[in-house]
């Protein structure tokens, strides 16, 4: 009769062990995989997440893909219901498609249960990174990384007396970070082809990438400054006269003239990494790039510290910046949903968000951004706040990829391949987009 007794003893022991376990729903010792793009902030997140592992004993694995391939790879993953990613820091443009096709978990209930308030985050970031439909109260992501397009420049070159004199004689004003696109082109032309420290340098590194989204992000930086609105605010999806307005066409022409006059040779397919390369190797006086890279650039041995300065996207008719940034979401196909939600809960805490900013991640939390000392925490912090005050994003529709690809083609054809005029390019784009929206049923 020993057998049953032994068995019941072992059952009792197991029950006792289980009952002594953690009261929460998730299991320790599990591993979560977080998918993001491979760039500086991702490395900072690896560092930050060590805190999470220490607190919850859940291990973190990371899958980082470089930006030019990020969208393709991750959207493919989501569309094939892949189980690779438990957490996804997806681009803001994916929200529409991911929400409607069930890729992301809707987080409203979870937020309510765990006292995570969206009012703790900057409204612009909540709007852009979390909600679908836009501006509604449906949340599919927690704002994770605030970002916008900004500019860097060689402060040390701008400080050289000989150059300052020459510039002043030519343009009757000081050589300083430009406040308008017209000023920017003047400065770029000034530096183009000049010899500095024995090497030929060039004016500016701007986005011209064909494959994913590069040239669109660059061109819209100009267009937003000219006041571009995609459609009639009173009549959604009515784009004629708005997307191809005179201002938009003028901005596109201007961007092309900037590309032709003042960029390094061979710069016809350049995006973030190429811009960083050009700036860090001392090739260009100014560089357009995402704020996300500025902490790393500031720490750079060759061009950082005193040699680098930052300025917000110049205005022409309005002050506006291209929105970047991402929110963090839970993938609905993940087998580790409870653990993934734990990560979101941990990430939303104010002190974690403060540490995130200190490591180089752009927190969207009010505790960080609304702090009075924020502007002094880094030389680009004030510019970042200014940029986030006036950001505009590309379409976030489920069909955003088609809209983006159409713009990539039309704009690259015009700016780099010299096809047609700016007006023809934008008119063709409106036609392309109208076709897409008709297919989507958003226009009759």
């Amino acid at each position: 009769m020993t057998f049953p007794i032994r068995r019941s003893l072992s059952v009792a022991a197991t029950l006792a062990a289980l009952s002594l376990g953690a009261p929460s729903a998730f299991a320790q010792g599990k591993t979560l995989t977080l998918c993001w793009a491979a760039w500086d902030p991702a490395n900072a997140l690896v560092e930050l997440s060590k805190d999470f592992t220490a607190k919850t004993k859940i291990n973190m694995k990371f899958e980082f893909v470089p930006w030019p391939n990020f969208a393709d790879r991750m959207l493919n993953e989501l569309n094939s219901k892949g189980k690779l990613c438990d957490l996804m820091i997806g681009d803001s443009q994916w929200i529409g498609g991911s929400a409607e096709n069930g890729h992301y978990v809707k987080l409203n209930d979870f937020f309510a249960k765990n006292n995570i308030k969206m009012s703790d985050f900057l409204p612009a970031t909540v709007y852009a990174y979390s909600t679908w439909p836009k501006g509604s109260q449906n949340y599919y992501a927690l704002p994770a990384m605030g970002d916008a397009l900004g500019w860097t420049y060689r402060k040390d070159w701008f400080a050289r007396p000989a150059l300052r004199d020459e510039f002043r004689k030519k343009h009757n004003r000081d050589l300083a970070p430009p406040k308008t696109w017209t000023e920017l082109k003047q400065v770029a032309e000034f530096f183009q082809g000049r010899e500095i420290d024995g090497k030929k340098v060039y004016g500016a590194a701007i986005f011209t990438e064909r494959g994913s989204e590069g040239i669109t992000m660059g061109v819209t930086a100009a267009m937003y400054s000219w006041g571009l609105q995609y459609d009639d605010p009173k009549k959604p999806y009515s784009m004629a006269g708005f997307t191809n307005s005179k201002d938009a066409i003028e901005a596109l022409d201007f961007y092309k003239s900037l590309y032709k006059c003042c960029t390094p040779p061979g710069y016809n397919n350049a995006y973030m990494q190429e811009g960083l390369d050009a700036f860090k190797s001392g090739q260009v006086a100014m560089q357009m790039n995402w704020f996300a890279f500025f902490p790393g650039l500031f720490k750079d041995e060759k061009v950082g510290g005193n040699r680098i300065g930052f300025f917000v996207n110049p205005r022409q008719k309005v002050a506006a910046s291209t929105l970047g940034g991402q929110g963090i979401s839970v993938v609905s196909y993940s087998p580790n949903r409870a653990e993934a939600l734990e990560y979101i809960k941990w990430f939303a805490q104010a002190d974690v968000q403060k540490k995130w900013w200190s490591l180089g991640g752009y927190s969207c939390h009010n505790a960080v951004l609304k702090d009075p000392g924020f502007a002094k925490t880094a030389p680009f912090a004030a510019d970042f706040l200014e940029a986030m005050g006036g950001v505009k994003d590309f379409w976030q529709e489920p069909a955003y990829a088609q809209l983006l690809l159409a713009m990539q083609k039309r704009v690259h054809d015009f700016v780099v391949a010299d096809k047609g005029t700016a007006k023809e390019a934008m008119d063709a784009l409106v036609a392309d987009w109208t076709k897409v929206f008709k297919e989507e049923g958003k226009i009759k």
Binding site: D72, G97, R210, G266, H412, V416, E439
Partner: protein, 317 residues
């Protein structure tokens, strides 16, 4: 004569005929089907069934990224819009330019090399192997790497050209110029695949028996006449075969061009496969891209069919 196992030999000799007949095992018919079946099953599952599915999809508005959306039959809408889309024709033009020039260059250079190697100089085996190396690389990795080589400022190509011609290296961009980009991809493909054509032509040249040449010498035919009268005609089936294989492959070309130019600048080098990939896996217009795929397949199939008939005619003359 036969190299049969001596034990088996003795066993066979010792077995009475009746038993031997039964021991012959599976009949020829059964064996034939047993041997062919696995191949056919694999092809049916991975090639045919998907092809039929593609045809089915091409008549719908299905999108793979909207699995929950309603799927409608829309008949020939996709086919009509593809055949009337100027961007599609531009892509076909880029593809045609690519296929034509790569075939021409690879055939001329490949055959010429094969003819030289057929002189059988000392060490020709070694040098043949060396020439083969480029085609062992992954086309995607090659495309990626030639971006580096084609860079105006840090790349080797511009410097090499400048070394031989004196043009300053930064004055031209292979990948950024609308004029030069189509040639950039032709150059890389030729670099990679000329050895393949060379190999097949070499096989052809080696298959020509010596006695034909000897007879021609006896008839006092000049080397020139021998080449045009014997070498070229007898090697022609092989050359045509190489052109067929390379033609089919380059019509479908994706990897190398995608990584080299991404279809740019603009859409100058956007060959058909790149358009297809954008439609299918970036815009997720599954129905539309299925129709495009069927059109491409029919085009290649039709052309190959005609070509193979011509090839057979040449072989049998």
């Amino acid at each position: 004569m036969s190299r049969l196992d001596p034990v088996a030999q003795r066993a066979a000799a010792a077995t009475p005929p009746v038993v031997a007949a039964r021991l012959r095992g599976l009949s020829d018919r059964a064996l034939a089907w047993l041997f062919i079946a696995p191949t056919m099953v694999l092809l049916l599952a991975i090639n045919i069934f998907p092809l039929l599915w593609t045809i089915r999809l091409s008549f719908t508005n299905y999108r793979a990224n909207r699995p929950n959306a309603a799927v409608l039959d829309i008949g020939l809408t996709h086919y009509r819009s593809i055949l009337t889309d100027p961007d599609v024709w531009a892509a076909m033009q880029a593809t045609a330019h690519f296929v034509f020039w790569t075939l021409l260059l690879q055939t001329l250079i490949g055959f010429f090399l094969a003819w030289l190697i057929d002189r059988k100089f000392r060490g020709h085996d070694f040098w043949t192997t060396v020439i083969l190396i480029p085609m062992m690389l992954s086309p995607a990795v090659v495309g990626n790497f030639w971006v580096f080589l084609y860079q105006p400022q840090i790349g080797l190509f511009n410097y090499a050209v400048s070394f031989f011609t004196g043009i300053p290296p930064s004055s031209f961009e292979m990948l950024g110029s609308v004029r030069l980009a189509p040639w950039a991809i032709v150059i890389v493909d030729t670099w990679m695949w000329t050895p393949y054509v060379m190999l097949i032509c070499l096989a052809g040249l080696r298959s020509i028996p010596d006695y034909i040449y000897e007879a021609a010498e006896v008839d006092r035919a000049s080397k020139w006449r021998q080449f045009w009268g014997i070498t070229l005609p007898m090697a022609l089936p092989f050359i045509m075969l190489a052109v067929l294989f390379r033609g089919i492959e380059n019509f479908k070309m994706f990897d190398m061009v995608n990584l080299l130019t991404n279809g740019g600048p603009g859409s100058t080098t956007e060959v058909a496969s790149i358009t297809l990939k954008r439609e299918a896996f970036e815009k997720w217009r599954t129905g539309y891209s299925s129709a495009f795929a069927i059109i491409l397949f029919v085009a290649v199939f039709g052309l190959a069919n005609i070509y193979v008939k011509a090839l057979n005619a040449v072989k049998n003359r």
